[in-house]
Structure formats: C-alpha cells, structure tokens
C-alpha cells in the first residue's frame, strides 16, 4: 500500500512565522501535490511537483512556496504565516503515468495561525 506521511497532524504557529509542512511518500512516485481544504470550498491545489527540483503553481500559490530536494519528500513553506492560512493541508502523490493514476493522500495537517 502507498503510504503518504505528513509530519504533523496538528500545528499551531504565530502570525509572521515561517512554517514548514513536510510530506514523505514511500512508493517512488514522481508526482507530489499540496492542497488546502476549507469548508465549502473543497480541495484547492497550491503547488505540485512532477520531478525532483521541479515545481509548478497550482490554483492558489500566493503566500506559499515549496521544495523538493529528494524524490520522496515534498515540503510546503509558508514564508510569513497569516491568519487566513489557517486551514487543513493535504499532501498527495501519484506515479507518472499517462492514464491519470489516482492520487494517494496523507492524513492531513491542521494548521492554526494565531
């Protein structure tokens, strides 16, 4: 079974802090994704990466950056956290495949910015 592990289930940070959310997958997947989930809005894509050191903006990249130095690890960075970034963050991975293989999700990190 694919395992996507997010380093923290719950995180509380202060406004202005630099925040790192870590995600590791164990199935050698090429693609990795970061979403945020808010009530009534579903999941919105922040960034994704299709290879090491490669990244592309998703639908809501403002205020975020990402890092992928190793294939198995994809980090989401909040450069200067703000209260409107309080949310549930979900990481996902999928293999590089033309047939749109399903994404596999971690359990999420619930982030509160005070």
């Amino acid at each position: 079974d694919v395992k996507v592990t997010q380093s923290s289930r719950y995180l509380v940070k202060r406004t202005g802090e630099k925040v790192f959310l870590e995600c590791v997958q164990d199935m050698d997947h090429e693609n990795m994704f970061w979403y945020r989930q808010d009530p009534g809005l579903g999941l919105r894509l922040i960034y994704f990466s299709y290879d090491v050191k490669m990244k592309e903006k998703g639908d809501i990249p403002e205020g975020y950056s990402v890092s992928r130095e190793k294939k198995e690890r994809f980090s989401l960075i909040l450069e200067s956290a703000s209260t409107n970034q309080t949310s549930m963050y979900l990481c996902a991975s999928s293999p590089a495949d033309r047939d749109n293989q399903p994404q596999h999700f971690g359990d999420g990190t619930r982030l509160s910015i005070l």
Partner: protein, 112 residues
C-alpha cells in the same frame, strides 16, 4: 471552464437504506473521474475511478458509480448504508496529466 459540482452539501440516511450522491462535471474531453471518501480527521481514500469502458464502476466498501456522458454525471451509489459510511465524499475530475478538480464535498450522516 472545467468544474465539478456536488449539489448536496449534507445528506442524511438511515442505516440500511440506499444511498446516491450526485456529481456533475464540466469538462471538454473524455473525463477521468474519481470518488474519494474522507473520514473525520483523516486524509482522502480512493473509492473508485472511471477512465473508460464500462460505465458502471465498482469500488471498495460496496460502492459503485455510473458514468452518464449525456448528463455529465458520475453519481455514487450504495444499496445499503452502514453506520461506518458516515464521512465526507468528494468527486473529482482529472484535468490534464497532473491536476484534479475537486467538488466541494457531500457530508453523509447515517442514522441508527
């Protein structure tokens, strides 16, 4: 524009009753469609997927979904709901190779 609509925000059913969750999509090409389930405090788990072929797709946990191109729908069904099915359900369509569009979710409540 590409979109996924789940018109029901909340649905309540009695245990043992049948279930249908609606999903409508707007996508120009042949869609790749998915249903995911999210239990409280958990990530999303894939229930089933449709790529091509038979329009009735079987998934895990006794769920099935039917793709209807003429109605742009991909509704999820289960003949008899169990209390453990209480969760939030998301429909998604793949756009291009990497990106999904998710619906806003339907929260299912099951009455004992």
């Amino acid at each position: 524009a590409q979109s996924v609509t789940q018109p029901d925000i909340h649905i309540t059913v009695s245990e043992g009753a049948s279930l249908e969750l609606r999903c409508n999509y707007s996508y120009g090409a042949t869609p790749y469609l998915f249903w995911y389930v999210q239990s409280p405090g958990q990530g999303l788990q894939l229930l089933l997927k449709y790529f091509s072929g038979d329009t009735l797709v079987q998934g895990i946990k006794g769920f099935e979904a039917e793709f209807k191109r003429s109605q742009s729908s991909f509704n999820l069904r289960k003949p008899s709901v169990h209390w453990s099915d209480a969760a939030e359900y998301f429909c998604a369509v793949a756009r291009g190779t990497y990106k999904y569009i998710f619906g806003t979710g339907t929260r299912l409540k099951v009455l004992a």
